[in-house]
């Protein structure tokens, strides 16, 4: 097996009395779809927040492509090529789709307009945004300058996923990307995930939807009580056993036995 592209060792994160991540390890290998499953409150979102710079872990280390990294903001992680779609979407409702897609990495006009007057290159950003949405065959958004708040839930989810897919050069993380979506909308997101994988980019997918997880994942990281309980191969385990593991009804030893 090759080396992991992204990994973490011994991560700890406490919120007041709650230990959301409790000496947790984590590994993502190149080109794979890794699913992370676990009960509500198991600490899945906290884990990926710690890995993607959205929160600073209290202890532990994160490695990207073999080098130790210490992201202090989501921007650091993004500059390193890790794109995340957070559970709570992270879009600015009053701003346009293009504004949102380029938030934090805006393009400036060439020449002194850009370097001196720091003027944004709106035309270029709009074109890029439209191209990406089209390229991903995602949906027919009529106006790229529409405020995000005027989009439906599914469309918003689409914008967030498209942003990640467009800019994620090394790793893409999706935290419950289909939780509030209808059947059709969910399907589109799953197709998109496979599309991204086919471009060779590894994906972390957090989901409560077992059928989706078993359909897509190459490996499943089972998270319980703030820790990685075990990692399983969806081809070797039944859905029932995966659920039993994550809820504590079964231990990894039982499963191995």
């Amino acid at each position: 097996m090759t080396d992991p592209i992204l990994s973490a060792r011994n991560l700890v994160k406490r919120y007041g009395h709650v230990t959301a991540i409790d000496h947790c390890d984590f590994d993502l290998y190149p080109g794979e779809i890794l699913a992370v499953i676990g009960d509500n409150g198991a600490g899945k979102s906290s884990l990926i927040k710690a890995v993607s710079g959205a929160v600073a872990p209290d202890e532990g280390e994160v490695w990207l492509e073999g080098a130790k990294v210490a992201f202090t903001s989501p921007n650091d992680a993004r500059e390193a090529g890790i794109e995340t779609v957070y559970q709570q979407l992270a879009l600015s409702p009053a701003l346009s789709i293009a504004d949102n897609m380029f938030m934090g990495r805006e393009l400036r006009k060439p020449g002194i307009l850009g370097s001196w007057f720091r003027m944004l290159d709106s035309a270029a950003m709009q074109k890029f945004a439209r191209d990406k949405l089209t390229e991903l065959g995602l949906m027919t958004i009529q106006n790229i300058n529409q405020a995000v708040e005027t989009l439906s839930g599914g469309q918003r989810q689409g914008v967030a996923v498209a942003r990640a897919a467009a800019f994620g050069s090394k790793v893409i993380i999706l935290d419950e990307p289909t939780a509030a979506l209808g059947v059709k909308e969910s399907r589109r997101v799953l197709e998109l995930i496979q599309d991204v994988k086919s471009r060779g980019i590894p994906i972390i997918l957090i989901s409560h939807n077992m059928p989706h997880v078993f359909e897509l994942a190459d490996r499943i990281h089972i998270h319980r009580l703030g820790k990685r309980l075990t990692v399983v191969d969806p081809k070797d385990i039944s859905m029932s056993d995966a659920v039993a593991l994550m809820t504590g009804a079964m231990t990894p030893d039982d499963a191995a036995a």
Partner: protein, 350 residues
């Protein structure tokens, strides 16, 4: 059963729990304060009294001086209680001072300009306060405008109305004493063992207790908290949000009118220029008392302590001979510190 895999989830019924980290003293303190938010201002208050007592001795610890603080705090204290109600609903009332003064002017002018019996005049003043509250309440609850703006506008309107209606005329204390002593009712003094209380002070204390009771032990009180916490959730879970909001603004207006009546008792006369600082001072008391400006959290007794803290600092520093500007500076720092502590307590997750 298409989802048979799910059944394995039901096998284990025990409740999963994270390891609870050993609790430090700091954590335990944080927890205690989290549960009883008015403890912080109470402790600050006691500490302030002790420190000034040690510093100034008898001059500060005399019954006269201590009850003097109560007298100096009474107006702001009463207004701050009204302010607390509004802030608990996640609002803010910038018009409290103006409503208070207009109400006192109405009480005075109805007696002296129109010759109405003082009882009727007082009732009219209270009604005036309630009406001002009603207007704000309707604008906030029904038209759904932000309270900051509504009461900013009301402040200007009511204050201007006050100056226009009163023609800037003061009604002299001597005239009131002679013709309508009822207006000065709250100025009546009672001596209890060397300590001097006015009816106004007693009113403030009783009002605080009554409101604390109503907020804690009646359905209305629970609804006030729920509305301040999350108005949409409150509406969906069956609270009459509009009614609750309007009742709060009307009650706050009425309390301000009572403050106006108390004001006559305190300063003797009816003066349309009074109360200009009541806004900012009442908000300061509420904030120092630990009620969250975001609504839904805090105890109204904290407000009383907040007002008293400001009173203790003001009198203490004055008796210690500090320049009044140093008092202002200190109160400014106190405001920021109070909220910093508050945030720290909030961070406690249980």
């Amino acid at each position: 059963m298409p989802e048979s895999y799910e059944s394995s989830a039901s096998r284990d019924q025990s409740v999963a729990e994270f390891d609870s980290q050993g609790r430090t003293l700091g954590h335990r303190l944080q927890h205690a304060l989290h549960v009883t938010p008015s403890l912080v201002p109470l402790m600050v208050l006691i500490a302030a009294v002790v420190v000034f007592g040690l510093l100034l001795g008898q001059r500060f610890l005399s019954p006269f001086a201590l009850t003097l603080i109560l007298q100096q705090v009474q107006i702001v204290g009463i207004v701050a209680l009204a302010q607390s109600l509004v802030i608990l609903t996640a609002g803010i009332d910038l018009s409290v001072g103006a409503v208070m003064v207009l109400s006192s002017v109405v009480m005075g002018q109805f007696t002296f300009r129109y010759g109405l019996p003082p009882g009727i005049a007082v009732m009219s003043g209270l009604l005036c306060g309630a009406l001002c509250g009603l207007v704000s309440g309707v604008l906030v609850a029904i038209v759904k405008l932000p309270p900051f703006i509504v009461t900013l506008g009301m402040w200007q309107v009511v204050l201007a109305g006050n100056f226009l209606y009163s023609r800037n005329e003061t009604i002299r204390s001597q005239d009131i004493e002679a013709a309508a002593p009822l207006l000065q009712f709250f100025g009546t003094r009672v001596e209890i063992g060397g300590a001097i209380f006015t009816f106004g002070v007693l009113f403030m204390l009783i009002l605080a207790v009554v409101l604390a009771y109503a907020l804690r032990f009646t359905a209305w009180g629970r609804h006030v908290y729920a509305v301040g916490d999350d108005p949409e959730a409150a509406a969906l879970s069956g609270v009459n949000v509009r009614g609750t909001l309007i009742s709060v603004y009307v009650l706050a207006g009425t309390i301000c009118a009572f403050a106006g009546w108390t004001l006559i008792g305190r300063i003797g006369s009816v003066s349309p220029t009074s109360g200009q600082l009541a806004n900012i001072e009442s908000i300061t008391a509420v904030v120092i008392g630990g009620i969250s400006l975001f609504g839904g959290r805090g105890s109204i007794l904290g407000t009383l302590f907040g007002a008293l803290i400001v009173g203790v600092f003001t009198l203490g520093l004055r008796l210690a001979g500090a320049d009044p500007q140093w008092t202002n500076l200190l109160i400014g720092i106190l405001i920021i510190a109070a909220v910093a502590v508050d945030q720290w307590i909030r961070r406690a997750t249980v």
